[in-house]
Subunit: 259 residues, 2 copies
């Protein structure tokens, strides 16, 4: 069975989506079969992989509520070996809509079961979460085995880490006893800036070897690629951003081989 | 009566908190009395104004649920004339906790009434929202008269604008008929980067004169200041970030005088 990781951090704009798209692509180009689940109502991962707003029906909302076949809902992307379950706008209202459903925290876990039963196995499943500890992120924590935490090298992002760790601990003690921190990824690292280095040091002190040794530098090509509906690896495979995500993929593969 | 603005955008990391802190400070240093309401469970505005996690009780959560006196909950900050109602961690669970309350969308509006009745009037009240269109942001849209939309000059941020405009329109048609777009603020503008300029052009095309002429440049001093519990205006009043927020305050004051 493959690895199921939730890319989560309630701090906004830290690189969750950019990591889902580019790590997913890097793992796919070296031959793994990868699925990205976009459960953020913003749908940035879907846009960044070329699936426009009008092409998203059926969406992850339809799949979660059991109203769509997986064959229809899961799409291929411009990257061979990388599939996507696109986001749906209806995800915006689920906190209220599902409030009375006893299964509200397990809809994604149930969907995973269907994916495992009905589709050829994926080596990696990456879940792109919204910037919040809401019901959608709780669903991701219940369905995943590990959390990959993108962490921007900024002061506010460091501040939110303890709240995130507590939320993960709460889920471990209740809905998903096997949930753990798969790793912390330092993003938008700017070597020229003292604050960036300081935050990186502080995170390593707190999280030790759970911090990936691969650092993602601040690189404008990573933020340009989504406007072309392509991951950075296809848009500019030689840029520092693409190289960093290839290194990250290698680090994850090495980590898996050791276990 | 003063101006009540919600600083909102469901896209994460676009500068909502940085704008609340530094625009609030700039308006206060020129003599206005200003109140910042921190309703984001992350509590970044509270940290950035020097109110640590252990000093936040009673918090905005206690004030919203009617369990705290305003005199106790509203604090002064290092900036004369700028007060803060700090965030509380309990805000994390309100979507579910308040789901069955008929008043769930009006708690902040009710709190505003108390503020107007019990305290000397504020000229400006700025509400710092979480990166989500959840119940807390809906409360802000119901309590405020205008929405100030910080918009990062990045592709993904531009993509989320239409979703935000629709959400505001929905609130206008239901809970708050007088809600309007007070203005769109372009943030983290990097003149050297073609994408930044392109996004700024696209936003001006769509939003016309609702886009403030003041641009906030990318400036590392803005992200350093919060680690000292001070707004940039006190940390480094000569840096490009501080000057830009002083210009923004002047633009808002001028806009008010014209009306
Ligand atoms: N390493 C990087 N260098 C430069 N820009 C980056 C980098 N990583 C991400 N970005 C840009 O920064 C912005 C925030 O990144 P992204 O949207 O991936 O974060 P997120 O955590 O998914 O945001 P949200 O909380 O809204 O879901 C985007 O505009 C993205 O293109
Ligand atoms: N103009 C700027 N130049 C450089 N850094 C900035 C600027 N504005 C904000 N920042 C930094 O970028 C990060 C995101 O800004 P901020 O936290 O204010 O955004 P936000 O929209 O409030 O985020 P969230 O969605 O998590 O609430 C912070 O680390 C902040 O210090
Ligand atoms: Mg995202
Ligand atoms: Mg904020």
């Amino acid at each position: 069975e493959g690895r199921v990781l939730a890319l989560a951090n309630q701090k906004g704009g830290v690189g969750k989506t950019t990591t889902a798209i580019n790590l997913g692509s890097a793992l796919a180009v070296v031959g793994f079969s990868v699925l990205i689940l976009d459960i953020d109502p913003q749908g940035n991962a879907s846009t960044g992989l070329g699936i426009g707003k009008r092409e998203r029906s059926p969406s992850s909302y339809d799949a979660l509520t059991g109203n769509a076949s997986l064959q229809e809902a899961i799409r291929s992307t411009p990257v061979p070996g990388l599939d996507l379950l696109p986001s749906g706008e209806e995800l915006l209202g689920v906190d209220l809509e599902w409030a009375d459903m006893s299964e509200r925290c397990f809809l994604l876990r149930n969907l995973m079961r269907r994916i495992n039963e009905e589709l050829p196995p994926y080596h990696w499943i990456l879940i792109d979460c919204p910037p919040s500890l809401n019901l959608l992120t709780v669903n991701a924590f219940t369905a995943a085995e590990g959390v990959l935490v993108p962490l921007q090298c900024e002061f506010f992002a460091l501040e939110g880490l303890s709240q995130l760790l507590r939320a993960i601990e709460n889920i471990r003690n209740s809905l998903n006893p096997s949930l753990y921190i798969y790793g912390v990824l330092l993003t938008m690292m700017d070597r020229r800036n003292r604050l960036s280095e300081q935050v990186a040091e502080d995170v390593r002190e707190v999280m030790g070897d759970r911090v990936f040794s691969t650092l993602i530098p601040r690189n404008v090509r990573l933020s340009e690629a989504p406007s072309h509906g392509r991951p950075a690896l296809l848009y500019d495979h030689r840029c520092p951003g693409s190289l960093a995500y290839m290194r990250l993929a290698a680090e994850l593969i090495h980590k898996e081989q050791q276990n």
